[in-house]
Structure formats: structure tokens, C-alpha cells
Amino acid sequence: MANLSTKLIRDRVIVEDTWQVLTLIADDTPETVGLPAGPLLVPLPVWQARKSELVRRKREQGEPLGIWLDTQDDPADIDANLDDFSVVGVRFPLASDGRGYSIATLLRTRYGYRGELRAFGSIGRDHLHYLWRVGFDSFAVKQPELAIASLDDFSEAYQAAANQPLPLFLRRALSA
């Protein structure tokens, strides 16, 4: 069990984080791991093993439900259930592992996920701008007060991306 951090950046402001991230450690199995009370991000194997229990927990006990994907997880696996989650997290085990950028892009552009998309793990302020462009809107980073400025390291972009569906050349042509 790990708290993300007490504060995070969400929708470009710094807020208290109330969510817990459930991780499987040592002898935990997806079927038996305990589910603590409160807003909870569960890993994909737990969701797959205990869908109905988690949905009941949410509907009957009013406990907010989220899921997190690890870097090798396929977002297609949760496509049908995206409405069940109020937060989808993507873990970055290493800053150099860029799969999360494609996972986020797919969630936003292919599977149409509109809820909170959270990046956590080995990310820092120097990753925020790209993370934001591929569709993340919440970021568990150290020193969020300092980091937040880096969301805007660049004020323009050439490519289409999750947060800007039109590439620069089309926007330029449309505004001309």
C-alpha cells in the first residue's frame, strides 16, 4: 500500500490527494489482497479478478474506484469498463520507460476516456509537459509547487496529440 504523495497537480492546480494506490507485494494475490477503505486505485489484475466485488463496493458503499495500469498493460483490457472508474492511473517504473505515453494517448484518443488520468512513479517536473500533451491531467510529482511551471515549458507544438487533436499545420491553415 502506498500513498501517492499528499499533494498532486490536478487540472493545473495543486490539490490534496485522497487516493491510495493498491500494489501487490510479496505474497499478495489479486484474489485475496485486502481492500482498504476510501478512494482506491487498484492494479489491473485485481480488477480482472474481482470486478463485481469492486463495482458493488463502489455502488453500495460509495467508495470511489480507480484503476492503475502498469507499463506493460494493454489499455484495451479496460476499454469496456472505463465508465466504472473515476481515476485511471499509469505507473512509470522508470523515467526512461515511455510506454505510458502511448498508453495515455490510446486511452484518450482511441478509447475515449474523459475522466482523471494520473501519471505516477518515476516522473519529475521535466516530464510534465509531454505527459500533459499525451492526455494526463493529474501528476503525482515531488515538489508540485515548483514542478507545476514546467507544464508550460513549451507554448506551442507541431504535432497532433491527445490534448490538441489538430497538428500545427492544420490549425495554421484554418486560422489563415
Binding site: A95, S96, G98, S155, L166
Partner: protein
């Protein structure tokens, strides 16, 4: 050439600001060595054997005189007055001071240059044919496409942390002067049966520890789909390329393990989602970019220039230079010229600040103020009137830039090797010097004709030794520098990977072995037959025997060369 607009300029400036702050935080201890590494790499900054190395981007090898002068002044102010043109058309400074790198980047930004993504596991500088726009065989000018890809790849948010580096090349036509087959992704401009322009797409080439030539991924990709198709390829690679072993992380390994058919099938499946989406290129956008590469105002000139012809008849040295370093041009009365950075006694690809300034002047005086860098580590002036060739030659010769050896044995391609690079097993530069010394008889070297010799200081193959007709790879044997010799590699359309001929040879003995190899060629060649063609015809056996001292053991060869 492409000129920045306000947004291009803004992005490069914001990059300087970003990196200045990252450098400051690193020097203040707020960013650890490990955290700083990927950030500096994405700005071309390595920490090397003696000092940092900074690789400056020269997008598709194209420079204006003004830009080259800035490179000269940066080299003088921030380095020791000499810099290295690399096999990927970039420029490397070997002694910059970490704290001053942001200042260097700022100087570059003033002339629309940068060091963005010249290193790191991201999409690197896109390379192309140095004769783009003037080459005879061209189907279409590759430069607009290279620029469109430069913009697409610059700060692409999804593909900044790939499993490994990613290199793209664009060739304008069938001769494949950009060597697409040794790149992760390669484009060759082609026309389909209806005469429409598009690309043959190659994937999965690369040298290094596991050299593989690229395979055709798609025979014809209509141009509007270039970016959506590339997004699909890169996404597949980003998600499924190996990340557990850096030596198996290039896209070539993914292609190899899936097989090209399955890989192509998966690309098509991913592309189906992206095809015809907003990133589909428009005629207006292509025209906007292509306008930057419109032909300059050429004069109407006769095809033959009497003065040039007569100068060749009267001056044998000039004629030798014209035969090797002057290339045909699509416009009558014009030629393209290679200024050789391979003078005897100079490290291949190195140029001093003074030389860069002279080249910038020559490009202004005789051309349209434009210079190209080449994969062979030379410089090209693309548009020279034939009637000016003699004057140009005299000026270039005075600056040590007119060695008449383009494509010859002494036009050696070499990585910086052990003198600078921390990964090296061997010092490629002293070997290059020793070879140039050994083959200093120009007439003899000219008589040998085209022989491409490439040297890499280690298995990373920055010197492209696998595709040299003769390749030399530095290896370490019990602390002694040795070189493995490969024969039969080739570039471009005839691309092939060389084969190792036998045990590695002690560094000091390499020049002798090479001499024996070329002697063997002399014995067997037919009239006008190139080295590589003789080799193909008769096989490597006699060359191998020759290299080791006429079939005698390596030990004997050693005694001969020492004696």
C-alpha cells in the same frame, strides 16, 4: 533552405530556456546525475572520456553560410577551434564546458539551429542525400519531406522515451544516396504506375552489435499518409520494442522477432485507426514547406564550359580533383563540389574554425550561400558554375580542402574513437592517419579507384564499418588494440554487410594488411572493375590469404611488418 517562422523560433528559444534551467538545477544539486542524463542527452550532450561532447544538429545536412560561420565561432569560443562532422551529418564539439552549453545553444538559436534530439532514445536527426535537389537521378526532392519529418519528430510527446535511439533517412531516388537500409526507418521517393509521388518504406536496418539491413515495410505509401503511418510504426515500437536489454532494443530486433510480414500486418492494424485523421498531410502544407527548397536563380549556361575543359587539360592536379570531387548537376553549366575533410594528417571529418569560415565564404562567393554535410564526413557546395571551378579549387586547395580523394581509399570514414569516446576499444584516428600516410601516393590511390574504408572504434559502429568495402572494427585483446577486418560491405542501393575475414590484426599491422588486400585487387581486377566488383566476382578467399601475409599465419605477418 527552410527558414524559421515565429513558431519555429519560439520553440527553439523555449528549449534553450528549459535546458538552461535544467543545467542550473543539476549544477545546484537539485537534479541528480541520473535524472539529468536523459535530459542532457535529448540535447546532444554526452559526458565523455575527457570532457563533455556536444552534438549539434544539422537537419538533413543543410547549412547556410551564416550558420556555418556561427558554428565556426562557437567552435572557437567554446571549444578548441576544431570540430568533427559526424556520419549522421551533424557536428560534434569535443571540449565544451557543461555550464556554458546553454550559451552555446542560445548562439545556435540565433541562427535557427539547435541540438534537439541529437542523442538519447528518441527520434534523431533525419539524414538525406547531400546532393538533394541537384542530383540527376532524383524522383523528387527529399528535403521538404525531411523538414516535414523534422517538425513531426521535434518534441513529439509520445515518442521521447523510446526503447532505443531511432534514426530516419530519406532518399530522393533509386540510387539511395541516403543509405536508407542502415536506418530504423527509411524512405525512398518513388512514383507509382499513375505517376503519383510516394514512398517505399524500409524498416529495421541498423549496424552496431547486430547489423541488419532494412526490409521493405510498404512498397508504396502515398505521401499524404506519411505522418499517420509513421505514428503507427513508432507507437508499435514504443509499446512492444524490448526494454530489458539495450542491445536488443532497436526496432530491427522487434521486426526480426515478429518477422517482416507480421510486423507489417501490425503496423497496418494500428494505422487503420490513424489513417485519414487530422495528421494527414495536405497539399497546402507540402507546398508551404517545399517553397523553401525552390531552386535558386540559376543562370542559363552552356552545358560545357570551355575554360573548365581547358584548365583540366593544362593542369593535371586540377584534373585529378575534378575527376573525383566534382559531381554532375541537373542544371547545365553547373556542378556540385565536394570539399574533402580527409587531408593527410587530419582526422577524418574534422574542420577548424578557419576552414569553416573559408567554406562559408566560398559558398557565398561561388554558390548560393549553401553548404551540405555528408555521411562520408565531407562538405558539399551544391551549386557551382563550371566556369568558377578552377578559382574555387585554388581557394579550397589553399585551405587544405581540395584533397582529390572523394570515394577513394583515403576518403576514410572514422568515428572519433578512443581519443574522445569512452566506449571505444581502439583509437580510430591514429589508425586513419597511419592509413593515409601509407597511401600518400595520390596517383596510386587514384588508380585503385573507388574503395570505401570505414573505421569504428567499437561494436557500436559509428564509423559504419559493416558497410565499408573494407571495414575495420576496433577490438580489445588482452589490453592491446586490434582490428577486425571485414570485406564486401556496400552502401546505398547495393547495400551489403561485410564479412569478417579472420582473426583481428594488431593495430600497427593494419596498414600492411590493407596494402596486401589492395595489392591482391590489383592482381585480379579486370579493366575498369571496381574493388567491390572484383571482390564479388572472385570471392574473399584470396583477399583473406593476402591480408594475413599470403596465407601465412598471423604470427608471420607480424614478423614481416616488423621487419
Amino acid at each position: 533552405m527552410y527558414r524559421y517562422n515565429d513558431i519555429d523560433r519560439l520553440l527553439v528559444r523555449q528549449r534553450v530556456t528549459q535546458f538552461r534551467d535544467q543545467t542550473r538545477r543539476h549544477l545546484a544539486g537539485e537534479l541528480s546525475v541520473d535524472e539529468f542524463r536523459p535530459l542532457r542527452l535529448q540535447n546532444g550532450l554526452y559526458i565523455q572520456r575527457h570532457a563533455p561532447m556536444l552534438r549539434l544538429a544539422i537537419p538533413y545536412g543543410l547549412l547556410s553560410s551564416k550558420q556555418l560561420r556561427t558554428l565556426a565561432s562557437v567552435t572557437r569560443t567554446f571549444d578548441r577551434g576544431s570540430a568533427h562532422f559526424s556520419t549522421r551529418q551533424n557536428l560534434q564539439l569535443n571540449w565544451p564546458e557543461l555550464a556554458r552549453v546553454p550559451d552555446i545553444l542560445e548562439e545556435l538559436a540565433n541562427v535557427e539551429m539547435h541540438a534537439i534530439q541529437t542523442s538519447g532514445n528518441c527520434i534523431r536527426n533525419i539524414t538525406t542525400d547531400p546532393l538533394a535537389g541537384v542530383a540527376l537521378q532524383e524522383v523528387s526532392d527529399p528535403r521538404p519531406w525531411a523538414e516535414i519529418l523534422r517538425q513531426w519528430s521535434t518534441f513529439h510527446p509520445e515518442f521521447a522515451y523510446l526503447p532505443r535511439k531511432f534514426k530516419i533517412a530519406v532518399s530522393g531516388g533509386p540510387d539511395d544516396a541516403a543509405n536508407v537500409r542502415i536506418h530504423d526507418l527509411g524512405l525512398q521517393l518513388v512514383k507509382n504506375a499513375e505517376g503519383e509521388v510516394g514512398f517505399r518504406v524500409w524498416v529495421g536496418g541498423g549496424l552496431g552489435r547486430t547489423p541488419i539491413l532494412a526490409k521493405v515495410l510498404r512498397e508504396f505509401l502515398p505521401w499524404p499518409h506519411l505522418l499517420t503511418y509513421f505514428d503507427a510504426v513508432l507507437r508499435l515500437y514504443n509499446l512492444h520494442g524490448r526494454r530489458d536489454d539495450m542491445y536488443k532494443a532497436r526496432i530491427k530486433i522487434l521486426v526480426q522477432s515478429l518477422g517482416i510480414e507480421e510486423f507489417a500486418h501490425q503496423v497496418e492494424a494500428e494505422w487503420a485507426h490513424l489513417k485519414d485523421g487530422p495528421a494527414t498531410l495536405t497539399e497546402a502544407e507540402v507546398a508551404r514547406v517545399a517553397a523553401h527548397f525552390a531552386p535558386p536563380e540559376y543562370e542559363t549556361l552552356p552545358k560545357l564550359d570551355a575554360g573548365f575543359e581547358s584548365a583540366k587539360r593544362h593542369d593535371a592536379e586540377f584534373a585529378a580533383w575534378a575527376a573525383r570531387n566534382v559531381h554532375e548537376h541537373r542544371v547545365p553549366g553547373y556542378a556540385a563540389v565536394t570539399l574533402s575533410l580527409k587531408a593527410t594528417g587530419h582526422a577524418p571529418g574534422d574542420a577548424t574554425s578557419e576552414q569553416m569560415e573559408i567554406v562559408a565564404d566560398l559558398a557565398e562567393r561561388f554558390g548560393f550561400a549553401e553548404i551540405r554535410t555528408t555521411v562520408q564526413q565531407n562538405l558539399v557546395l551544391p551549386d557551382i558554375r563550371k566556369r568558377d571551378l578552377f578559382s574555387l579549387w585554388q581557394a579550397a586547395r589553399a585551405a587544405g580542402l581540395a584533397t582529390p580523394n572523394v570515394g577513394l581509399l583515403t576518403d576514410i570514414v572514422a568515428c572519433p574513437g578512443g581519443d574522445y569516446c569512452s566506449l571505444a576499444n581502439a583509437k580510430s584516428l591514429p589508425l586513419a592517419a597511419a592509413l593515409q600516410q601509407r597511401f600518400s601516393d595520390r596517383a596510386q590511390v587514384a588508380d585503385l579507384g573507388e574503395i570505401k574504408l570505414n573505421i569504428s572504434g567499437c561494436v557500436n559502429a559509428c564509423g559504419h564499418h559493416h558497410v565499408g568495402h573494407i571495414g575495420l572494427l576496433g577490438v580489445d585483446k588482452q589490453g592491446e588494440e586490434h582490428y577486425q577486418i571485414t570485406l564486401g560491405g556496400a552502401w546505398g542501393i547495393e547495400a551489403a554487410l561485410g564479412k569478417v575475414i579472420g582473426p583481428a590484426v594488431l593495430a600497427e599491422e593494419v596498414p600492411q594488411a590493407i596494402e596486401w588486400i589492395v595489392d591482391n585487387y590489383r592482381v585480379y581486377r579486370r579493366p575498369h572493375e571496381r574493388f567491390i566488383d572484383t571482390l564479388k566476382r572472385i570471392g574473399t578467399e584470396s583477399f583473406r590469404d593476402a591480408a594475413y601475409g599470403n596465407a601465412e599465419s598471423g604470427q608471420d605477418a607480424k614478423e614481416i611488418s616488423n621487419g
